[in-house]
Symmetry: C2
Subunit: 805 residues, 2 copies
Amino acid sequence: MEGWSSTAARREFIFMKKEFIKGKKLKNRSSYLSSDDDMVDITTTGTTAEGTLPKDLQFSTQDSEDIPGIGQYEDFHTIDWQRDIARDRMRHRYIVKKKKNSFLDTVKGAHDAWSGWLCVFLVGVVTGTVAGIIDIGSSWMSDLKFGICPDAFWLNMEQCCWSSNETTFGGVKGNCSQWRMWSEIFGSSRVGLWAYIVSYLSFIIFALSFAALAAGLVRVFAPYACGSGVPEIKTILGGFIIRGYLGKWTLIIKSIGIMLAVSAGLTLGKEGPMVHIASCIGNILTYLFPKYGKNEAKKREILSAAAAAGVSVAFGAPIGGVLFSLEEVSYYFPLKTLWRSFFCALIAAFVLRSINPFGNEHSVLYFVEYNKPWNFFELIPFIGLGVIGGCIATIFIKANVYWCRRRKATKLGQYPVTEVLVITAVTAVLSFPNPYSRMSMSQLIYLLFSQCGPSSSDGLCDYVYVSDNTSFETATSAEAGPGVYRAILLLLLTLVLKLVTVIFTFGIKIPCGLFIPSLCLGSIAGRIVGIGMQQLAFRYPHLWIFNGECDNSDDCITPGLYAMVGAAAVLGGITRMTVSLVVIMFELTGGVRYIVPLMAAAMASKWVGDALGKQGIYDAHIGLNGYPFLDSKEEFSHTGLAADVMQPKRGATLNVLTQDSMTVSEVESLMKRTDHNGFPVVVSQESQYLVGYVLKRDLMLAIANFRRNHEYFDEHAIVIFTSTSPQQSINAPPFLKLKKILDMAPITITDQTPMETVIDMFRKLGLRQTLVTHNGRLLGIITKKDVLRYVRQLGNEDPSSVLFT
Amino acid sequence: MEGWSSTAARREFIFMKKEFIKGKKLKNRSSYLSSDDDMVDITTTGTTAEGTLPKDLQFSTQDSEDIPGIGQYEDFHTIDWQRDIARDRMRHRYIVKKKKNSFLDTVKGAHDAWSGWLCVFLVGVVTGTVAGIIDIGSSWMSDLKFGICPDAFWLNMEQCCWSSNETTFGGVKGNCSQWRMWSEIFGSSRVGLWAYIVSYLSFIIFALSFAALAAGLVRVFAPYACGSGVPEIKTILGGFIIRGYLGKWTLIIKSIGIMLAVSAGLTLGKEGPMVHIASCIGNILTYLFPKYGKNEAKKREILSAAAAAGVSVAFGAPIGGVLFSLEEVSYYFPLKTLWRSFFCALIAAFVLRSINPFGNEHSVLYFVEYNKPWNFFELIPFIGLGVIGGCIATIFIKANVYWCRRRKATKLGQYPVTEVLVITAVTAVLSFPNPYSRMSMSQLIYLLFSQCGPSSSDGLCDYVYVSDNTSFETATSAEAGPGVYRAILLLLLTLVLKLVTVIFTFGIKIPCGLFIPSLCLGSIAGRIVGIGMQQLAFRYPHLWIFNGECDNSDDCITPGLYAMVGAAAVLGGITRMTVSLVVIMFELTGGVRYIVPLMAAAMASKWVGDALGKQGIYDAHIGLNGYPFLDSKEEFSHTGLAADVMQPKRGATLNVLTQDSMTVSEVESLMKRTDHNGFPVVVSQESQYLVGYVLKRDLMLAIANFRRNHEYFDEHAIVIFTSTSPQQSINAPPFLKLKKILDMAPITITDQTPMETVIDMFRKLGLRQTLVTHNGRLLGIITKKDVLRYVRQLGNEDPSSVLFT
């Protein structure tokens, strides 16, 4: 059985004391365990279905407000899905039954039936709105590093320049007259060394202040607001309780923090945190709907939908969001949730589009339209890009995990704000001189994805057109000019810089996501490979590889497409997403024709990644933090049996209750002596045939209640879990009848069950523990923690690293 | 326990006899149960994982070719997912272990690891190819009803007219000179009464011959080739065996039959059967890969992917196909399958596009591009369309189910070919006069989805343009001319005709799908509503509903969009698809901007449908045919307990084996007396504590083997299932030790377990049976059939209708 650490036990004890105090208040208004007679009443009708679950669950439909802590779990505990779902069924049945009584009940019933839809609708609306605010805020603050719009300081560079009709492509440089760079304000000049120094300094100062503010806010108000949040949300959706992780403070601080962090120019994205923010919104809104708010298993349905909405607003990709939620983060995903998630994701995307934070008609974030379809032979470089992406991803994951582990182990972890500031300063100082690393990553991706056209002024498009026809439409493939080579050099520097900084950035104590950095790394690698292929095709058009398809010198290679494929490859390698990745990329770019290249690269990248490192970054961080997450994707090739894993180990004795022979004091001393969550009930100490399972918590409440109701409380009263009482002398104290808190349908397995089946049952049925029997006789118990420890042990990891308290 | 009908029992008995004969051949070359000593050998090492599953499973890794029938199931039986997956794990472990031995084994290991991907790749390629052939064939034969291309008879009308440069939009009418209508060939005229009569007659004659051929082929060669196949595939994927349903004959006849049936002009589509065809391909190709072909649970992973490929080629919608497979047909869908399904669907779509059956650059089937986005107020008519769609769908489902039930109950069912011919004749006679019903449904949908442009010559676009600007670009919204009203009338007639004919058509004994008829019905209704809205907006532009958005008379309403939304609504109402529907529609039309309207209509339609009828057409047909499908979507609001459902009922005795006290003759007489699939093994008759579960089939094979190996076979030999033998006198016959065929880890539940939990376990763990205990003592058994009967009973259906033999 579970060996709780002493802190946990102490905390539980304090909690239980509070419960007792609360319990007293209930005495007169709740029928919950109010008298012994009442119990007998129910117990005699115990052969109906209502008799099969702990009675407290049944009352919860009527008195769920009255009974404190029913269906609630303590912090850092796993939930029991079966129990929660059973509770919800009971509640549902009660409402359906009551529906016919009065009009009000009918309305209540209808509200109950609709509350799921209403809740995801609200989640969608709020998520869309919050995402809009974050987009506007971060875009404005990012530009604040460069300058300001004096006429209307609340406008960002792009908006500021709209009125002037001199806006540049992609708004990369603020060269319209309305927009004033800091060098103009402080030095009344846009060019020259002094202007450069002013710009450089203001860039660094703003970056540092944003980062300091973000780190400070996180440290003071909401320590849970740091990081991407995806590993934690995976764990929470897998059935773990982390109180406050999805609370209102986390929401507020994470929303502000991510704006600041993005604006500080750090190598991080706001897309991962958006999933966390959406989940916070989902969690907070469930409190409006007790059906979800008071049932941890049902709440996770809403959280799955919220996660989908988060990705949906991050990328404008509702279908991708749903698939992300299904593939990456969710654990229990019934089909009803699929449809609701889709609805939620769509509403969120719709609201965000109505807010129109970028002030333009972008229907997709990085809309691309290339003149040429891809050629079949290009699958070879695309798969090559997949391999490169897999390697970059593996380098990142290994280095980042190593660094995070080091941070945890050394003193470094004690100075989170300093760490943030140092990284910000280094990033800012190194980024500014290089135009590609200076611009925001989102702009850089946009630039790299795009194809060279008449309006492209960037060095990347500095081609020497040899043909007479100078129209860009017919001749984009040409000899690269010096600008292109310079751009490649700068991009390579940017690639190295971003890769190094992201390794140190992911894991610091501010909100930070990985999607945009991954896409950015990949698009740089992809664009470089694309230009290489293009020049190869230009110089040696008759090479076998081109299969005669590049003979006429018009563009047979589009470097922008390579950037897109490379981006997918790195993101795929880092997150190990598959279908959702392809769908997100395709929704992100509108490139329905490029699904096959994207898929080829994503597959190659995933395979390379799996071959080199096994785990994606989220799973690696789950392992790093010791979250108790039972991955439903892993395959086990072990040969253990339930008998090998169960507690107690051979030789030790199992702590059990007997059905009708233990006294209250014996039960209480057993509870004090051990720190288990619950106890199996057996026929007798001599014949340990399993009768049921009782939760420690229920037992404590029941005994406390009994103690209150019987003034002459006798420690020697016998606790019985059967419906018929054994014979006893008249002078003996009255029985404490507890059949109604006994779960008579615990899940059992035999000791010879292979661990694979056991793990399968834990995963699919969402168990918290299972009882192990041999020929009907109780042998032991396996809890989720035992299973997790076993899985860790198989992976040659430290089994004691599993976080459970 | 299961009460097998006597035919089933007889069949099983015949089967077993065959097994015995086969078994004799094995005697010398297989180690399977070869000698008693061998058994003892293994039994002594029985505490490792290898000891936990029936030994036959363990040998199957090495000798799977040698042992007949291992892991195979009989026809119309359910599979045991846990057992099959355990077998696969064992096989996998064996290969991994062996991999290090030699280079050949390494290659074998790599082949094994890749075989899943290779298999789905092949499935994709073959599915794409077959779909291409069907597309080309059905298009050619459909046009053959109207005429022929004398210069090149293998060309269809559209291709024939290409060379002439006089092709009409959509190829609806064969008015180019190369294409000769039958009236021209037989009457040397294209117009006039005589020409009309010739055309009419040739139309009917071709339709009847196609239909007769299709019905005849199905009747003679492959009775399973009829219908859409989706309900059966759902059932098969749910873990049921229907031999031959996915065989090569079914594949061939269904492919030919669907071409003929579509060409016959019946109200049916080829999209549903495409799912069946793809599944056949998947099933056939698994035989190349024993990993999948010999393991029913693993085979279903490939079948899920194949189903996705089927939808992918039917609509050119790979993502929609995967979601369809996930949402609608699949049962066990691990994430690995998601990725493989996507790959398979994509390959299939890619191959089909490379074949390019329509000879043009259609990247999507019904590509639409409307000038205007939709307005917010239009959500009201869209939801209205959803309601209409839900009603049409309910009418269809109820009438069709009623008619199918009637067909089954009356003599009608005995004349399937006649029925096909009558329906074909009626459809052809009634369809020809009306141009909208005469054209193929696919063309009609294309026409209805499209917006009126300069090239549209159809009556639907006969608008009177009042503005001076006659450009279609700026003024498509205008007063409807007489042509529009005539078109509406004809469309209404078409709607009624199609609705009536589809009710009688779906269920006749030829291949027939429902997607295209549903889309067609919906698009007619939608177009009519759209024209109505358009005229309303034209006449009363200042109505509150238009919210000032239709003030300037340019097109604020696009009737084509309404057709698209209506199509989604009816299809959604009929199939109850949700996310997959929206994604398919969006991939089908390329209308990424119209996800919100599509979703609104699909939701409204599903809710209306659920309120009126509960089941979609596939589930209704599963119920109608009594397929043993345990729907994972249904919710149960009952309060039954395992004790109420288990066999034997109270009072009756349970047939069990004891672990070490029954003689061979007693065991054999028990097996003869009962027709159960397997028997629980208990400690003794007096103390019925559960030891394990043994399959009847294994038991019969083992006893037969024992009988062969012991020349002086004694009927009184004791069968023992323990590792230690009880004491006995020296003269007694040797024990028959059967520990190795005993499953020592059967899934058990207590009698107090609510049926909801039991059903959940059956669904999620894929059980075939579970044993019911009370305080460790065996009480009874619940099989999948008992669960299905119970579910039927709750739905007030006849529980004996469950098909199991």
